[in-house]
């Protein structure tokens, strides 16, 4: 298939932790992604920016296996994982912090963590949950309370802690600061820096393009289901025209 060989040529490198090769994703008759390719190396942070509805979440869903692409491939350490289930991909070492946090409100804080560690053996699951509760101070106080009582910032911490339960190598984050107070958003970015320092590979979608570009190594501008621009995060951050067009919402290429 021509599209595939294109993808391989475009991405490729053996050192990539994850590469996405010309994937297409549709929701029924509506196409959301039109042949998107990207790659992320181990320990790297990639920022995905672009207007609402551009397909950033669909891309993350295709990477974690919640959406099956109709064309294209997803590779993990060079291996084709396009056919694997979400659970299998989590076992390989990826995790997603979903948009709107998606905390399980009727489960306790601790139970949210334990479900997050579904794939771990029983003993490790509890040890790991204890470790997360130690690490995230706010969760300690509310350990046995229904997670529905958490504030937005606390819920975001829980969502991140829950995604870290299986000790992923690659963390996908979908709008981790959406709806959070500026101070709390700053804390989330501090946490992202911490994760990076610990060697975690990250793909982050964030509405605050300047801030996420500032934190990232490389970046992709996604627009109407296609990669409109890509390059180092600094390069994209310097392109005032990009900010103008996508923050303004007029999608003329």
């Amino acid at each position: 298939m021509a599209a595939d060989s294109n993808g391989v040529a475009r991405t490729g490198g053996d050192g990539d932790l994850l590469s996405v090769e010309s994937i297409e994703v549709s929701y029924g008759p509506i196409r959301a992604l039109f042949g998107i390719s990207l790659s992320v190396g181990s320990g790297e942070m990639v920022a995905l920016i672009g207007p609402n509805g551009a397909g950033k979440s669909s891309l993350l869903h295709a990477i974690i296996g919640l959406r099956r692409p109709s064309r294209g491939r997803v590779r993990w350490r060079g291996q084709d994982i396009t056919g694997l289930s979400t659970q299998q991909r989590i076992r390989l070492g990826m995790a997603l912090v979903p948009e709107h946090r998606r905390i399980l409100a009727t489960l306790t804080v601790e139970e949210n963590l334990l479900v997050g560690g579904m794939i771990l053996p029983r003993r490790m699951r509890q040890t790991q949950a204890d470790r997360m509760i130690e690490r995230f101070e706010v969760l300690k106080r509310k350990r046995s309370q229904p997670a529905g009582v958490l504030s937005g910032g606390e819920a975001q911490q829980l969502a991140i802690a829950r995604a870290l339960m299986p000790s992923p190598a690659l963390l996908l984050m979908d709008e981790p600061t959406l709806g959070l107070a500026p101070l709390v958003a700053t804390q989330v970015f501090a946490l992202i820096d911490e994760l990076r320092a610990a060697g975690m590979t990250l793909i982050v979608v964030d509405q605050n393009a300047r801030r996420v570009l500032n934190a990232a190594d490389s970046a992709y501008l996604v627009r109407t289901g296609r990669i409109a621009q890509s390059g180092s995060a600094d390069e994209l951050a310097a392109r005032e025209d990009i900010f103008g067009s996508f923050l303004g919402g007029s999608g003329d290429d």
Partner: protein, 295 residues
């Protein structure tokens, strides 16, 4: 006073049966957003299994585990053969499928066994009574109350303390998120059906001990009562299913006891009117579900 206590135990016994079935209905609704109108088929199939074993001379010591096992296998099999194919279809398609399963099973027994019911001996102690603190109780009522309590405690333990239980609750709240965290949809649905089958099987033991009868429609009334109990308690709320079942059983027994004999046949009608009145004030049942949006 004595009479009232007897009636309460009688009502709890009957309500316990309903609660076991309602809990299964609630579990399946939780993970699939489907009201399973084929829930009684576990009882129907178990009834014929007991009849078959009875014919070859098996005692109730064999029938009891056989009934429970048959119910579990039937539940898992029905999920595998029918429901898994419509899992992501509309609510209406799932509802129709559950009706379809109900009618297919019923028709199969009419065609391959008989339209008329088959009878088997009830256990000898079923009508015996014991005296506790000067009050006479039917042994079967006490057995139901005991078995129901143990089953409910076990179910709560599974749901609260095991990771499968947490996965079921997670999937019941938000299936997509559960999947994202590594919960396998097949697995969690199969566990829910197995657990629902186990609970229905325990209820079936007592239904069959009381009636000693296998008929193509044996599971129909228990299923309707179970669904009603689940609705009364609040669909999707598992504690609600238990409360709904016990309440329904108690109200039925009290109505039977205190209504004049001439209108005894109206009990079911009156129950439905009461439920309708309840829904006017609490449209989603006693414990209304907090999160019932479909994934």
């Amino acid at each position: 006073m004595t009479e009232l206590i007897q009636q309460l135990v009688d009502g709890l016994g009957r309500g316990g049966e309903y609660a076991l079935i309602a809990l299964g209905v609630g579990l399946i609704f939780g993970v699939m957003r489907m009201v399973n109108f084929a829930h009684g088929e576990m009882i129907t199939v178990s009834a014929y299994a007991s009849y078959g074993l009875f014919v070859v001379g098996a005692s109730w010591w064999i029938l009891v585990p056989a009934i429970v096992l048959t119910a579990v296998l039937t539940s898992v099999l029905v999920e595998f053969v029918a429901f898994r194919w419509v899992r992501s279809s509309s609510d209406f398609a799932m509802l129709l499928t559950s009706f379809g399963v109900h009618f297919v099973v019923q028709a199969a027994f009419v065609m391959f066994v008989s339209a008329s019911s088959r009878h088997f001996d009830r256990p000898g102690w079923i009508t015996s009574t014991v005296s506790l603190a000067g009050i006479r109780f039917e042994v079967v009522d006490l057995a139901i109350v005991a078995a129901t309590s143990v089953s409910l405690v076990f179910t709560v333990w599974v749901l609260q303390r095991t990771v499968y239980g947490m996965a079921i609750r997670a999937a019941a709240e938000d299936f997509d998120t559960a999947r994202l965290l590594g919960v396998r949809p097949d697995q969690v649905i199969r566990v829910a059906f197995a657990l629902a089958g186990l609970l229905a099987g325990i209820a079936a033991v007592f239904v069959l001990m009381r009636t000693g009868r296998a008929a193509p429609s044996a599971g129909l009334i228990p299923m309707l009562k179970g669904v009603l109990a689940a609705l009364i308690g609040g669909l999707g709320r598992l504690q609600g299913a238990v409360i709904g079942g016990l309440l329904l059983g108690l109200v039925e027994i009290l109505l039977v006891s205190y209504l004049p004999d001439e209108i005894d046949g109206m009990v079911n009608g009156i129950v439905f009117v009461l439920v309708a009145v309840l829904f006017i004030f609490r449209p989603s049942g006693i414990l209304s579900a907090r999160s019932s949006q479909r994934p």
